[in-house]
């Protein structure tokens, strides 16, 4: 009986010491963590999660300040991937946030465009081409569906259309 108690206590102390040593002296992976989270996000910078970009959202998730169900373009697959990475429960997408989706692209109605350039300035991936006072158009292949160009347009000439077909 005494042997058993001694052996188990000794093992526990030894393992605890090993864990403390590892947490002290093995290299920190702080940066890695944020990047690993960010990599699971769509990185289209639509800001519909409430944070000004995908990186800030990733940081907020890591800090425990943000829920993992706030990314509309990422959808369910992103929630599940985040849940698996972080060991948290997957929850349904917060549908009050917005409707950005990578399955849609922006389309400028050229009959209404006045060339104000506000949409091009808003696009986080420079997918809109056009000079001031000249016609603007969206390069559909580069458009990510983030919808950031829609509010700034003063003549409301931008609509979201399906990407294929």
């Amino acid at each position: 009986m005494l042997t058993a108690v001694t052996v188990l206590t000794g093992l526990s102390l030894a393992l605890a010491a090993a864990l403390i040593a590892a947490s002290r002296w093995l290299p920190e992976r702080g940066d890695d963590a944020v990047e690993r989270i960010e990599r699971l996000l769509p990185r289209i910078q639509c800001a519909q999660c409430g944070y000004p970009g995908c990186r800030p959202y990733a940081e907020a998730i890591l800090a425990g300040e943000a829920e993992i169900n706030r990314c509309p373009p990422g959808g369910e697959s992103t929630i599940r991937a985040l849940a698996e990475l972080l060991g948290r429960e997957p929850t349904p997408l917060d549908t009050s946030l917005g409707s950005a989706s990578m399955d849609r692209v922006a389309r400028i109605d050229e009959t209404l465009c006045i060339g104000c350039n506000l949409c091009a300035r808003a696009c986080p991936v420079d997918a809109i081409v056009g000079l001031p006072q000249r016609m603007h158009t969206v390069i559909a292949r580069l458009c990510t569906g983030c919808e950031l160009c829609v509010p700034p347009c003063p003549v409301d000439c931008i609509e979201m259309v399906p990407r294929h077909g």
């Binding site: 769509p42 990185r43 289209i44 997918a127």
Partner: protein, 510 residues
């Protein structure tokens, strides 16, 4: 003795009932011309051909009606003489699925008049010009995929180790290659020799399955007669899918085509015997590809046989030519019973990819799709010719676990269907994998879009930052300049004031 042996036995594959006797009892039916032809311009792999005729125009047999599009592509020709009645979009069967394609609809006049222009030009000397002729002549792989032959040959011209001629025809029901080898072996061998010259192949292996003794005999005689030391025949075991490109290369040479790469990357090229025949017809007689042998078979057709079919023949004419349907026909299949796909109607036209039409009768094909759960028996893994683990792919596909699917080699699945046949739970594994491949492709597209968005965003941030810095630098420069100007002005003023003071002093002195 023209035979060689193969290097390695296939791991996997299954023995299937051949079901080829019914269609090989009679010789190939020739001279059949349907009243209407619907010739698809995008019936081959690569880009669509571009039409060069107009509605109402009279065309002759072999006349070019469409030129190759951007490579890889190939031309299209009138399969018989007649008049163009329409150029319109229609559904046509390609190698793996139905596709919407611009089609040239020709009403035939029954005369089968030959096109005169250009057919008596001699076969050119230069390799490049020859390949160009092959491209213009509309020759595509006649094994079922219809990939432009010129592009495939170009890829290995000069780097080819072995030209493999595929006479395996391992899929049940299909017997068109068997019949062609029995009836036209000399022309096939002549075509093979021309192909070998085109790609400068030091060795040629013609692979023929063991269950075709008459074809083997005919081809052996023809190869011996041709006397070309590069050529050899290899009798291979009757296993499905030994005739698949990658499997055939592994069987014959022991080498494996790396995943994601083509056989040309390791110096091999596979061509079907029918394609060799077409090349010989082009080189010797100036004939472009206007017809191919099609096996019409199945319990649901009255007189199964092989037919030389003009490209673009609507299938119902073909069935009619073979005695019409039997009462118990339940399905119409384009291709063989393992990889062929079911057609919704029989007014679709044949294409260069149509090797076989099966009118399947009740009881001949699978009609119940009830499944049990996977019991992990592993039979599927033991028959997979690509050495995959279908039972694990099934779980990963259901979970849409894309990382696992990639690691398990979903990309390497050739969709041969062996796993479905041996599964005791009757799971439609191959269809699941097709769905998984589509979802995977979609997922890959999203990842690529995300990566590109991230890159463009970073560049945009850099650009904006640069603009901001330039602006600030310009501002600083302007401020400095203003300061300098101010300083200069001040000094000028001070100097002028000083000069004035001096003058005043001088004036004040007597």
């Amino acid at each position: 003795m023209v035979d060689v042996t193969f290097e390695r036995y296939l791991t996997g594959g299954i023995r299937l009932a051949a079901n080829k006797t019914a269609s090989t009892e009679e010789p190939i039916l020739r001279g059949f011309i349907p009243p209407l032809l619907v010739i698809g311009l995008h019936q081959h792999g690569g880009t669509s051909a571009v039409p060069i005729v107009a509605v109402g125009q009279k065309v002759a047999k072999g006349e070019p009606i469409a030129l190759p599009g951007a490579p890889p592509s190939t031309g299209v020709h009138a399969s018989s003489s007649g008049r163009v009645r329409a150029i319109e979009e229609r559904l046509i069967p390609t190698g793996t699925k139905l596709r919407a394609s611009l089609c040239i609809v020709i009403e035939t006049d029954g005369e089968d008049r030959r096109f005169e222009g250009g057919s008596d030009e001699p076969w050119p000397e230069s390799r490049e010009v020859r390949i160009e002729r092959v491209r213009l002549a509309g020759i595509a792989g006649l094994g079922g995929a219809a990939f432009p032959t010129a592009t495939k040959l170009e890829a290995v011209a000069g780097t080819c180790k072995v030209l493999i001629v595929n006479g395996a025809e391992c899929e049940p029901y299909i017997s068109c290659d068997d019949m062609l080898m029995r009836e036209a072996p000399a022309e096939i061998v002549a075509g093979v020799i021309r192909m070998a010259d085109l790609v400068a192949a030091p060795r040629v292996i013609i692979a023929i399955e063991r269950d075709k003794p008459r074809a083997l005999e005919a081809m052996r005689k023809a190869v011996t007669a041709a006397g070309d030391p590069r050529l050899a025949i290899c009798e291979i075991p009757t296993v499905y899918p030994a005739g698949g490109e990658r499997q055939l290369i592994e069987l014959l040479t022991g080498e494996e085509v790396p995943s994601g790469a083509y056989p040309s990357s390791i110096g091999y090229v596979c061509q079907n015997v029918g394609t060799a025949y077409a090349i010989e017809r082009l080189a010797a007689r100036g004939e472009p590809l206007t017809s191919r042998i099609v096996t019409v078979t199945g319990g649901g057709v009255a007189r199964p046989r092989n037919v030389e079919v003009p490209i673009g023949t609507p299938i119902h004419y073909l069935i009619e030519q073979c005695g019409g349907y039997r009462r118990n026909v339940v399905r119409l299949i384009h291709g063989g019973s393992m990889m062929g796909y079911a057609l919704p109607a029989d007014d679709l036209p044949t294409t260069k990819a149509t090797s076989c039409i099966i009118a399947a009768a009740e009881g001949e094909v699978r009609e119940s799709f009830e499944e049990w759960a996977c019991i992990r028996c592993g039979e599927c893994a033991s028959v997979c010719p690509a050495r995959l683990q279908p039972q694990e792919l099934l779980t990963a596909a259901a979970a849409r676990d894309f990382d696992d699917l990639e690691a398990l080699g979903l990309d390497d699945c050739i969709e041969c269907g062996c796993c479905d046949v041996v599964c005791p739970s009757h799971i439609v594994l191959t269809e699941r994998f097709r769905g998984a491949k589509r979802a995977f492709a979609e997922h890959a597209r999203r990842l690529a879009l995300s990566a590109e968005a991230e890159e463009r965003h970073k560049r945009r941030e850099r650009r904006l930052k640069q603009i901001e810095e330039d602006r600030r630098a310009a501002q600083e420069a302007l401020k400095a300049k203003l300061r300098a100007d101010e300083e200069a002005r001040r000094r000028a003023v001070a100097a002028a004031v000083e000069r004035a003071r001096q003058r005043k002093r001088r004036d004040a002195e007597p």
